[in-house]
Symmetry: C2
Subunit: 338 residues, 2 copies
């Protein structure tokens, strides 16, 4: 049994109140008394009971993150990296991360309600926003502090704090890079349309085409589920139906790696007569069979920023929305011809 204030009180001869104040650093306790109490507390290995503190309405020093079901895919390392990054970043500020996922029969929103409603966290990190995000609506309705990684779709208003990567800009940069290399028929593999970021990536693709006066062709767009296999399937389909293509942009690296496989099988030499590019710069990108040209998102740095921003939201309750857009970095490698 861990020691309680009562134990220390008994052993020291002081009241629970005095012990509490001595250990909390109040200045209305006799220095000698404090020393005595601290010594005993150390002896007993005293750790304040977290639940009891929370029940007093104290802060939990805990931040919640819910991992959504579609991410339950080993390839999709977005959430795992985010989780680790957030854990480190939170630790720097004296916070812990409560990581949850929906049980078999529950929805993501259920988990938010359970975690937030049971008062286990001071705030939430919301990732992978989708159109009309019910999680955000819920958090706003119960006035729970939260920070979003991502933002609303281009046609909607983001009335919340967020930190996002400017993926429109990122996809535009990588598409332009391919166009500069002389490719005029560039296909793209997009994420499911439910995700808000899918729209930004498509917009970036279209903007690049427009800058080169190239007509946008919907038939050059395929859709995948962020996995290597889905990228492979989508690329096979594109290659067979649009044989004039000489380049493909995958909207994440895994789909791009899948596309590379399809392109190889179709008999092209990647980096020579066909170009492939990705997005994310996962570790595997740099070491792929042909190293992958891609766009880098600094996921760890984003974790740090999310935590820092969320803590100011928790502590200061700002009235205007903090919204930050990070410029991603184009990383040119062999898969686009070097």
């Amino acid at each position: 049994m861990p020691a309680t204030l009562k134990d220390i009180a008994k052993k020291s001869g002081f009241s629970v109140t005095t012990v509490s104040r001595a250990l909390s650093g109040y200045d209305d306790v006799n220095p000698g008394t404090r020393e005595h109490i601290v010594t005993i507390a150390d002896e007993l290995g005293y750790q304040p009971n977290h639940s009891a503190r929370q029940l007093q309405g104290q802060k939990t020093h805990t931040i919640g993150l819910v991992i959504a079901p579609p991410a339950h895919n080993p390839d999709d390392d977005f959430y795992s990296l985010l989780l680790k990054g957030l854990t480190y970043a939170a630790a720097h500020s004296g916070y812990d991360i409560l990581a949850s996922a929906p049980a078999a029969d529950a929805t993501e929103l259920d988990v938010y309600q359970r975690i937030v409603g049971s008062k286990r966290v001071d705030g939430m990190v919301v990732a992978r926003t989708n159109r009309d995000d019910r999680r955000i609506a819920y958090l706003q309705s119960v006035d729970c502090p939260f920070i979003v990684h991502g933002r609303a779709a281009p046609d909607a208003t983001s009335n919340f704090h967020y930190i996002d990567v400017d993926s429109q800009q990122g996809i535009m940069a990588v598409t332009q890079h391919l166009l500069e290399r002389g490719h005029t028929h560039v296909g793209i593999i997009l994420p499911a349309e439910q995700f808000a970021f899918s729209q930004y990536r498509q917009a970036g693709y279209m903007a690049a085409l427009a800058a080169y006066n190239i007509m946008f062709r919907p038939e050059y767009c395929a859709y995948g589920t962020l996995t290597l296999d889905s990228g492979y399937t989508a690329a096979c389909q594109l290659l067979s139906q649009q044989p004039q293509l000489t380049a493909i942009v995958g909207c994440n690296d895994w789909m791009a790696l899948g596309a590379m496989k399809a392109v190889n099988e179709a008999g092209y030499t990647i980096g020579k007569d066909f170009a492939v590019a990705g997005y994310d710069d996962i570790p595997a990108a740099a070491h792929a069979s042909t190293s992958l040209t891609t766009v880098r998102q600094p996921i760890y740095a984003i974790g740090e920023m999310l935590i820092a921003r969320l803590l100011t939201i928790i502590n200061d309750d700002p009235t205007t929305f903090h919204q930050t857009l990070i410029e991603p970095e184009l990383v040119i490698r062999d898969s686009s011809g070097g």
Copy 2:
């Protein structure tokens, strides 16, 4: 403000006790009463206050994981994958994961004491055991349920529950695979000796040599810190000091990928006149410039097993130690000649 039992009591006209029992499914409440109460609870979006329950001595339905500082390396995706796997596995059983890391001035043990001492979790998952692991000693001293991924060093007793991968067997298999291919001078890049698993991997290497009547040479062993860069450095050193080597085993895939880079730079063709093999089968291994022969650990499945096992420990408090050794799988790819 979230609704409390008191709110429901007031609104329904029943006492807090009756409301509590109605919502907890006790059978000594009038069905009509229960229905009435449940309706109001739903209206109010009632969620039981987690702290209040815990203070009652209830279970927290939370499992703790502490991420250690040396893992703060983007390449090292062990903890991030484990974290995600555990989160999903825990969710299936109605548990959440509390993820923590040491703050700047704190040790890993400090975090254990804080998390466990403050009664925030029902049990802990301990990973990456090292020699004379103080975390384990601490958990035993306070009688906190825990499951270990890993085990004590070969020369020590593992007096605790664990689930480990038989990495001795795994490294032996991959080393033998290289020996079978005719390599007689096989180097190895080992993890730091502080990790218990380093010893098993070295033992596996030595066992393979012994099976082929090849003398063990300490000068064929180099050490790395599990990162690509460290593997590169170690391999450069091996290649320059032991030019007769024709094969290198990296004790994880990242070090093996670093070794591949060094071997390439030394002018060899991997898979033809030089063989490299790794361990872990991270996603990047299959897609490396030369696909990497390696040993697969089913990290997600291990996450499931860890949670399942830990829950039985929490609930049944078994008197004998559950100890499971998983056989890893040799995955042969091009880097060893296919």
